[in-house]
């Protein structure tokens, strides 16, 4: 998982870490990172899809 996290972009990683491990909502994450909510949404999705592929979930 750590290695897979390393494959994410900085922004994807921050968003996933804050949302998942920090337990913040995506709008809170957007606020903390000073990034539009829409961007966070797509970053969370892209980040998780990348993780899914790296971790081989559903493959």
């Amino acid at each position: 998982v750590k290695k897979a996290m390393g494959r994410l972009t900085e922004l994807q990683r921050q968003a996933v870490i804050l949302a998942y491990y920090g337990g913040y909502s995506h709008s809170e994450v957007a606020e903390m990172l000073h990034i539009p909510v829409g961007t966070i949404k797509t970053r969370l999705r892209d980040g998780l899809i990348r993780l899914r592929d790296e971790l081989g979930v559903g493959a």
Binding site: Y21, H26, R45
Partner: protein, 278 residues
Amino acid sequence: MSKNDDADLSGAYALNALSAEERAAYEALLATSDSARVEATELADTAVMLGLAAAPKTPAAASRAKLLAAIAVTPQSAPQSSATPQNAPVVAAAPQNAGVGATPLPTSDTDHEILSPAEEEALRRWFGRPLRVVASIAAAAVLVSGGVLIGANLGTPPESAPVASAVAQLQRSNDVQQASASLNGGGTASLMWSGSLGKAAISVVGEATPAAGDVYQLWYIADGDIRSAGFLPQDCSDDAWQLLGGDMHAGDSVGVTLEPSGGSAQPTTDPIVVLASA
């Protein structure tokens, strides 16, 4: 919100990071879209793996103790499915009843209808998927305390929980005994032990803080036989009982010495205190 926007919510949905409204919107999409359903399932599985990967890490003893203390004093919600009517007001917020006037206590059958959609969402969010919730709480506790950094140095393994219960067991034992003695240099040490359990705990108050690189090491002392019994924790709060490692034999005394960090096989300094149990 358009369909495309909703599809973008899959990541936040899997991470439980949506508001109730967004969650409802996304679940509406799930009901109509196979591809969204597949994606949601796979991303949820991915999120579970994140939680499972983080779960074995242990929080720093201090954060763990703080968390457990907070849990101990935090009132817990009544079980959602409880059939006892007196639990209803706890779950159903008062405003819903206010407009109804002199309505008698709702029965459990109506509990669910009293909840507003937002409250139902909130309950679902928390109770809907136990594995995810538990995993994410554990992960959050760990990683937030570590400064929101994966792989952060998370400190020493937690010893407080097993120690606390072992000390409680010791205190409840039928043959528990206690002794106290003054420390050389000021302070007091107390020893509590049970012959039937073969266990002992020590409480040291007012000891000098060891110099950097030194630790207080505990010893069982019998005639011609000195065995290490572990260490006093550096951050040991005053008057907390600290369980000694290993087994105490009948008649053992317990001593405390200052040793270089990492401890010694046998004492290398004079004890600051020796407590006789015989």
